[in-house]
Symmetry: C2
Amino acid sequence: MMTAENQNNQLAENKLKPRQRDILKALVQKYVDTAAPVGSETVRRVGNLEVSSATIRNELAALEEAGYVHQPYTSAGRVPTVEGYRYFVEELMERVNLSVPERRMIGHQFHQMRLNLDQWMSLTAAVLAHTARAASLVTPPHAKSAYFKHLELIGINEVMCLMILVLQDGSIHQEMLGMANPIDQETLTQTSRKLNVLLKNCTAEEIQESKDPELTALEGLTRQVLGRVVDIMESIDRDAISKIYRDGLENMFREPEFRDAEKMQQLIEIQQRHNLLEPILASILNSNGIQVIIGGEGPYEEIDNLSLVLSRYGIRDRASGVLGIMGPRRMPYGRAISTVRYVTRLMDDLISNVYGEDD
Amino acid sequence: MMTAENQNNQLAENKLKPRQRDILKALVQKYVDTAAPVGSETVRRVGNLEVSSATIRNELAALEEAGYVHQPYTSAGRVPTVEGYRYFVEELMERVNLSVPERRMIGHQFHQMRLNLDQWMSLTAAVLAHTARAASLVTPPHAKSAYFKHLELIGINEVMCLMILVLQDGSIHQEMLGMANPIDQETLTQTSRKLNVLLKNCTAEEIQESKDPELTALEGLTRQVLGRVVDIMESIDRDAISKIYRDGLENMFREPEFRDAEKMQQLIEIQQRHNLLEPILASILNSNGIQVIIGGEGPYEEIDNLSLVLSRYGIRDRASGVLGIMGPRRMPYGRAISTVRYVTRLMDDLISNVYGEDD
DNA sequence: ATTAGCACTCTAATGAGGGGACTGCTAATT
DNA sequence: AATTAGCAGTCCCCTCATTAGAGTGCTAAT
């Protein structure tokens, strides 16, 4: 993310000499590949550098001094630090694109899909996970404010009815309502028809503050239903991230950094702890472009040794969600970013087809 | 499960002398507690047995001969075999009940809940996982045959509409439909009203085989909608297990048997592989009472070192699902069973309130 | 039938030793 | 001044041997 801190970093970073950049780049690439500390001779080979390993050792010492690499112990090779990854992502990484067959495959899957929100989100998560070979996260499209669209009441038995609420963004909410006394389907239909007229295109706030005598005078079932509608709409307004679709967790367990049981358990707990990820995803909703969050960086200490590549998709404030992937910090960022970029573009297209020329 | 094989087993099992039963019982209890092989002296102490450890050693050798216990290596203690667990569960285990505060807590959570299927299932999974301290599985209630209840079409924009299909069992299915040419909301409402009348209480089969000229003569959007309705209903009929709600996986990772990364990965893969669990859950739908599946037993070789305690809930063929827990084979079966029993009873009550006096 | 006693077995923990990868430094070279 | 060859030194990690300890099976006595 582009913050003030970051700009400071960049000033410092730009002081790196070209050769140091080459060295850092080769080192990160190799380390991402092998997960083992990288020595000077290896850097020379991987980076095709025309200097001796002794020179590279000197430069590595300088890079360590500057905080971009780290030595697990004296006389081991070097490993990138968080700052090293950040520099790599911002300055060194070459843009990669998904191969044509991969793009075709993804496009194909998206076009075959039935347009059911749940399936759609699951599929997106699956595609992301499979293509980036990492864990994926997707949140459903969400509007800044919920607008009432349609209500339906369906009698289930003597004392219960099913309420179905459709909002402008296409989301559907259902709830079973207990009724004080038996009400027949005809009355239920009347009730829903009446509310459909009264509430058309309203927000929760508008409903609550309405002085319309028709609304304020409601009683009985109708009042009960209205109350639930407002509750639901308010909870939607409140929670930008209603649900997180996930997939591909197993990809992470394959990585050597999670070989050890304790690290694995930490990972599982991070997945479970919604209060950790939700604020991050919510913040992405107000951003543009692809955001790379490198674990341990700034406010993200808690997700140490994980990284996220996230992007907002859809139409801001109208129907917009977050998608992206989560992997070990040692992640092929180039591929991750290109995957997220491509899927975001597809989602943007789909969203603008569905929500684009509304009303 | 009570099969012919099992009855054979039982004959064999009943040949165990009372002292052998005491020994096996103490051994299983201790092993479940400590996850370490149990020696003769420990059995004597745990089981309060009035014989010497030498006698117990002799009996243990007999139990090993009979296949109920196993020695990891010469001169180690004993560990229960699958058969040992089975005998324990069928014959030795004492019935335990959840404590009153626990029951109260669970009951409270269920009564506070909004009656939304998704929340309901998630809550049930959470309660099971938390109470049994294991992973939990819950499938939504499902009817043997899907009966049409209600259809709604809501225009989203010029070329798309949202179809909402409600079935007799209260399940809701939604899909976005693309329309060849723009259709206004009035027409959509007409269409849904018409289909609501024609399809009322029909099964997929009845719709397909209907000779009603009103149905067979349909065209355009109405025909398209009808096609999707039938497709959805058929897929419901086909798949007894539409979705599995899970929770508490992290409980399993805490167990020592999954300390090692490889076992953990196996576990993740079992969670992922739907074709493994779904048939098991589907078979539970046709059973009664609580079923204990001990990993590695009979046809369940693939889930080696896992056990399942499952139960059908609800009204058979009308609105019935499966719930239960999954844990390491070394599991406190008594507590697991009592948890599943109690939650099943609560679910039965809820289901009969909602679906009981239908029509 | 039971038990005390004992030799025996096998694991798991500990620590020593050595190979290997890589460094940092020095001194020579360009 | 920058680069490099060379080399001593560092530290990990693997292997191997040793040992303590838990628990067994067997025998002979009760």
